[in-house]
Amino acid sequence: MPAIRTRGLTKRYDGGWFGADVTAVEDVDLVVEEGEVYGFLGPNGAGKSTTIDMLLDYARPTAGTAEILGHDAQADSEAVSERVGVLPEGYGLYDRLSGRRTLEFAVEWQGATDDPDALLSRVGLDPDDAARPVGDYSKGMTQRLALAMALVGDPDLLVLDEPSSGLDPNGIRRLREIVREEADRGTTVFFSSHVLGQVEAVCDRVGILDDGELVAVDTVDGLREAVGASSTLELTMAEPTPTDVVTDEGVSAVEARGTRLRVTCEDSRAKARVVADVLESGHDVVDVGSESASLEDLFAAYTDGDAPTGGVDGETGDGEADGEQRLTDESADAAEVISR
């Protein structure tokens, strides 16, 4: 039984007497298997939140059905809520309640026995801050509290809608740790984002939503292959080196520029072999750099219909948080290199 299954899920908004109808989500068939971390990607306005709203019964589908952990999302919404932890988009908290009191309410509502202090420390919210009213919180603190509220009652499924928005690099790292911990405990995580580096770092599978339609579903590696993306290895040698030191069959092109060797690999696993071969052949390697086709390229390819190209900065909005995140995250360095 999948954690999430939608069939023909569609949401149209009536444009009224004079406006045109707007289709926010069209015929989405989504399957999220139990125990996986599923990244739900798409540009702003693609319909991610509308889809999630229908999964959580915040909005009613125009057509189609959604099943969560075997329960109908609409008819059994309370049964769904009992097993699902939610960090919704556009949520608000009660400004006058303290963070700790808010969390106590969440524990009570979920019928759980969690220790609020343990949850607070898990999301990295200071006990002093937890005593203050939520109305005084920064966006990042609010987001941490909301994440703690989603974790109450050890849910079987976590639905996180843009969980990294407003978080600083530390918060994003902590979020990622929590997602991994939860996944290790068998929790299914459904994670929406328009920031690709984050999804790339934690997700098993990715679905890309564009203009209300699910345009691609695959593993991160699979998506790379599907688009035919290649990754590049850049070796800085102690002295100019002929290109024929690289003989690996996973390599499609080698280019020499001064002391640098630029090796284009069709298979990212070839990179390690190439480095080992070069070292074994007695050449002195000063530095190794790597660029992999990032999800940004894939994203651009899927949403614009163009072939992926290096240097495309597929992201708009949330640039600050993303920039900071890249600086702190090695796995996203590749994207950084490309956009330079």
Binding site: D53, L56, D57, Y58, A59, R60, S77, E78, A79, S81, E82, V84, G85, V86, P88, G90, Y91, G92, L93, Y94, R96, L97, F105, A106, E108, W109, Q110, G111, A146, M149, A150
Partner: protein, 294 residues
């Protein structure tokens, strides 16, 4: 069924809200004013206690709906706008739990506000003069709280039905105007249409029922059971053809209906009308809320 949790949260949140204390202060201030005015205008100590009750009921027609609507019209739509409803419904609460919890929570808030305000003002009277009959005080208190609950039910119903704060506010203000001014005029108009003449001092019994379906009218009846003398409409457009020089005692419904009073003109029916106002609009609001997107 988790509505108790929501009711408790709502009550706790309201207690922290400055607005609630502001409303209570205004209400107590208003009651103190009423008491002061009554004392200044009366000579006998015994009369002033009853007069204070009468004036409280009189002004309560305006103040209770205002307070209840102010405290209630944001109950659901406010959480909808801030997004806290998304959090609330992320837990195992149904939309019915939300509406019922809000109804109970806000009614509790209103009951406490009106109760404290009324007790304070009556204590002031008791200190200044001979205290009014305690049974009458308790009865009027009950009538005011029931009236407050009726209007709170309407406010929560409005709040659950609409998507924006502006719409909720317009409906709340509109309903006060309807109850205080339009309703009685419409009843008189309906009477004229059916019988060919505006109601006079004596009128068909159903005309009085029509006026009592208005929660304000029902409150006048229920409160009148505990207050000496006739409680006048807050605004009277003078559409009833009452001869000049009519004694206020003659305005009692018993004297205006031919023969014995039908059951539907009893105080109990008026009280039930208030209960219906507390429940039916919330039910309608829930039905609309349950079908809509957040």
């Amino acid at each position: 069924m988790t509505w108790q949790q929501i009711a408790r949260k709502d009550f706790e949140d309201a207690v922290r809200s400055k607005m609630l204390w502001g409303i209570m202060a205004v209400f107590v201030g208003f009651m103190a004013f009423v008491v002061g005015v009554t004392l200044a205008n009366s000579d006998g100590g015994g009369a002033s206690g009853d007069a204070a009750l009468g004036l409280t009921a009189q002004l309560g027609q305006l103040f209770v709906p205002l307070i209840a609507l102010i405290a209630g019209y944001m109950a659901v739509v406010g959480e909808r706008r801030t997004g806290s409803l998304r959090v609330l419904l992320g837990y195992p609460h149904s939309r019915w739990d939300v509406v019922l919890g809000k109804l109970v929570g806000r009614t509790g808030v209103i009951a406490v506000t009106l109760g404290v305000g009324s007790v304070v003002s009556i204590a002031l009277v008791a200190l200044a003069t001979a205290s009014p009959d305690l049974g009458a005080v308790a009865g009027l208190l009950g009538a005011i709280v029931l009236f407050g609950a009726a209007i709170t039910g309407l406010a929560v119903g409005i709040s659950a039905s609409v998507r924006s704060r502006g719409t909720a506010m317009a409906l709340a203000i509109g309903s006060v105007l309807v109850f205080l001014i339009v309703w009685d005029a419409a009843a008189a108009g309906a009477y004229a249409l059916v019988t060919g003449a505006l109601p006079g001092l004596e009128a068909e019994p159903w005309y009085f029922l029509l006026k009592r379906l208005n929660p304000v009218g029902a409150f006048r009846v229920v409160a009148g059971a505990f207050v000496d003398g006739y409680i006048h409409e807050f605004f009277s457009l003078g559409l009833e053809q009452i001869p000049e020089g009519t004694e206020t005692e003659q305005l009692a419904v018993e004297n205006r209906v031919d023969g014995s009073l039908p059951v539907y003109l009893s105080e109990w029916v008026a009280a039930l009308t208030l209960v219906a106002w507390a429940l039916v609009p919330s039910l309608v609001g829930y039905l609309r809320f349950s079908r809509s997107d957040l």
